[in-house]
């Protein structure tokens, strides 16, 4: 039986804006098993990054529980949090802006070691930095280079080395490959997979790129307007998507093959504003199957088959009303 390293219950994060509350994350619940990768996909503004950031408490959640290895991290004080951060780390999307331009690569990687006071002597620290550079595939001669001298892929490797420095168990990866070219992207994906195996890591992998998410994840959660609409195994969700949004999202991916795109579902319009969203299903305005009940009643994320969660009133019984 898998043990759960992280369990999130009814997580909520609202931002105050001029016209009310922006519901960035609304009643989100999921869990992550030890050693697996959970992929979190959705379009911009759906709340996936906010979810990632609340998990490491870079943002304070408004409501809910985040249970990491048995204890609720939202209840922890400052001191306990810094202990926790040794186990939970994050890699950011933009390797250009997450590195200090005035710190050399070596010093950047040493920073988390210093903050946590792990090595007593300079030599030990230096050895660890070199070891980390080796693990993520940065040549040793670059130790005194500065971020502007490296390309995006190398910088992302520095970001990963920093996250790995203090041997975390769980890493939140927020769009780690989306600013990279496909060749470099493949290198980083291979690296992340290898590291997971070698260091027994658990990942939350946030991305908007479905083919990348499918490749790296064990299970996938699809988010839309602050809510998870579907969550299941990565192969099953692609073969048999149940939520109308997942179906449209999957059919919209351009596939690099001839005549690959079969029947494409083109969604009408844009994602509605997350400020003061109405009751009912969030996808109502763009759903081709929408019926009256969808407007009035918010669908719960329910387990309709073992390990398959979907929040749609008509999952498995989608039929289009003639209009």
């Amino acid at each position: 039986m898998n043990s759960r390293i992280l369990e999130v219950n009814n997580l909520k994060k609202y931002f105050k804006v001029k016209n009310g509350n922006l519901h960035a994350v609304d009643e989100v619940s999921f869990y992550i098993n030890t050693g697996e990768t959970l992929g979190l996909v959705g379009e911009s503004g759906c709340g996936k990054s906010t979810t990632g950031r609340t998990l490491v408490r870079l943002l304070e959640a408004d409501h809910g529980e985040i249970i990491f290895e048995g204890s609720d991290i939202l209840k922890k004080g400052k001191k306990e949090m810094s202990d926790l951060r040794q186990n939970v780390q994050m890699v950011f999307q933009d390797p250009y802006s997450c590195l200090n331009p005035r710190l050399s690569i070596g010093n950047s990687i040493a920073e988390p070691l210093e903050v946590n006071n792990i090595y007593k002597t300079k030599q030990d620290k230096k050895n660890r930095v070199k070891e980390l550079m080796d693990i993520v595939g940065i040549e040793e001669r670059l130790i005194n280079s500065y971020p502007h001298e490296l390309d995006g892929g190398m910088r992302q490797r520095v970001g990963i080395a920093r996250a790995l420095a203090i041997n975390p168990k769980f890493i939140v990866l927020d769009e780690p490959v989306s600013s990279l070219d496909v060749c470099i992207q493949a290198q980083i994906l291979n690296l992340l997979k290898r590291l997971q195996k070698e260091l027994d890591l658990t990942y939350l992998f946030i991305s908007h790129d479905l083919s990348v998410v499918k490749y790296i994840s064990d299970r996938i959660a699809v988010m839309y307007l602050g809510k998870i609409v579907e969550l299941s195994d990565h192969n099953i969700i692609f073969k048999d998507p149940l939520h109308p949004y997942t179906q449209a999202l999957l059919s919209a991916i351009p596939i690099p093959k001839l005549n690959a795109s079969g029947d494409r579902i083109i969604l009408k319009g844009d994602v509605p504003s997350p400020v003061n969203p109405p009751e009912g299903c969030r996808f109502y305005t763009r759903c081709i199957y929408a019926q009256d009940v969808c407007l009035n009643k918010t669908p719960e994320l329910r387990e309709i088959e073992p390990e398959r969660y979907v929040s749609c009133h008509f999952a498995r019984n989608l039929s289009r009303e003639e209009n």
């Binding site: 379009e43 911009s44 390309d151 892929g153 070219d181 496909v182 060749c183 992207q185 493949a186 290198q187 994906l189 291979n190 997979k193 908007h208 479905l210 083919s211 990348v212 499918k214 490749y215 790296i216 192969n235 692609f238 449209a248 999202l249 059919s251 919209a252 991916i253 351009p254 596939i255 690099p256 093959k257 001839l258 690959a260 795109s261 494409r264 083109i266 969604l267 844009d270 994602v271």
Partner: protein, 334 residues
């Protein structure tokens, strides 16, 4: 038969940028042709020279940093490089239009969207104000902007809607060639699908030729007729779409395909990556640009530039692996 019905023909284009470390060879010996009504996918990584090529066609290269060292660009039989700025200004927008990657930066934030479409039309067509307005309405309607929104400003639109406005501006004068520089990169997938659908529809309706600059082979499969794969400043493989997708031949092209996770496969074994990095553009390689990363690299690859070997009438590849085929015209560039 090559050469009869060409809209655009680029021969041996070479563009360099000035830098402190000596000239940056952005585009090197680039050959490209495009027929009427065709859509060409222009694929390559960051820094491959895709945008530089597009700017060379448009005559928009920053001066004096960038310089077209040699080569020809012929558009409808006339050389674009010999034209004066004034003549180019008439061609830009009317005959050749461009869609940029980021719709926010290519729209004027203090003009309503209809004003921006009208501006383009009145610059290039000698018609009355009333007709200009009518045409602007029509084109905006075609791209799916409702009448009640045409007096809005760009910031009131979402990314996808803004890109629709940019497309409307680009198509408002019936250009013969449309250059789209990563038109959907800044958009979400579901919105991307909408915009691609729209572009496909309008391309057929207007009969416009198009150059689609992208790094996404999925988009190419969907919308293009021909594909040029670019690496480190030159085209390494040029083919019709079917031929390229069924028989990718250059080692770099194959590497590109292998780097993309296959969404239809359940197998998640390691991706076959291309090791290493593209060569430094200030210090180009003597031989084939890809030889530093190529698993098939031979002695001669390091010393000479490969010619354009013809696998078929519509498929050329610049690689010595295919030197048992005849090569296309011209002398090799050594």
């Amino acid at each position: 038969m090559r050469g009869e019905n060409k809209l655009l023909d680029i021969k041996k284009l070479k563009v360099t940028y000035r830098s402190d470390n000596g000239p940056v060879h952005a585009v090197e010996n680039l050959n490209l042709e495009l027929g009427y009504g065709e859509t060409l996918g222009f694929v390559g990584e960051t820094g491959a020279g895709k945008t530089t090529t597009a700017y060379s066609i448009m005559g928009l290269l920053p001066s004096p940093q960038a310089k077209i060292e040699s080569g020809e660009i012929t558009f409808e039989g006339e050389s674009l490089l010999d034209k004066k700025e004034k003549e180019l200004r008439n061609i830009r927008g009317r005959d050749i239009a461009m869609i940029f990657q980021d719709p926010m930066t290519s729209l004027n934030p203090v003009m309503t969207v209809i004003e921006q479409v009208e501006e383009m039309i009145s610059l290039h067509k000698k018609i009355s104000k009333k007709e200009v307005k009518e045409q602007a309405y029509q084109i905006l309607e075609k791209v799916g902007i409702k009448e009640e929104r045409v007096f809005d400003y760009p910031h009131q639109f979402s990314g996808g809607m803004k890109q629709r406005v940019v497309i409307a501006i680009a198509l408002s004068c019936d250009p013969k060639l449309l250059i789209a520089d990563e038109p959907t990169t800044a958009l979400d997938v579901t919105i991307q699908a909408q915009v691609l659908e729209l572009m496909k529809k309008l391309k057929d309706e207007f009969g416009t030729s198009m150059i689609m600059i992208t790094h996404d082979l999925g988009i190419v499969a969907e919308i293009c007729d021909k594909v040029a794969i670019m690496y480190a400043g030159s085209v390494v493989e040029y083919a019709d779409k079917v031929s390229l997708y069924t028989n990718p031949s250059h080692p770099y092209t194959r590497g590109l395909f292998n780097s993309i996770p296959d969404i239809n496969k359940e197998d998640t074994s390691e991706l076959k990556e291309i090791k290493g990095h593209p060569p430094d553009p200030t210090n180009p390689l003597l031989g084939c640009n890809f030889s530093s990363r190529c698993e098939y690299a031979m002695e001669k690859c390091k010393k000479f530039k490969p010619k354009e070997y013809m696998l078929s009438d519509s498929h050329t590849v610049n690689c010595f692996l295919y030197d048992n085929h005849t090569y296309k015209g011209g002398e090799p560039n050594e």
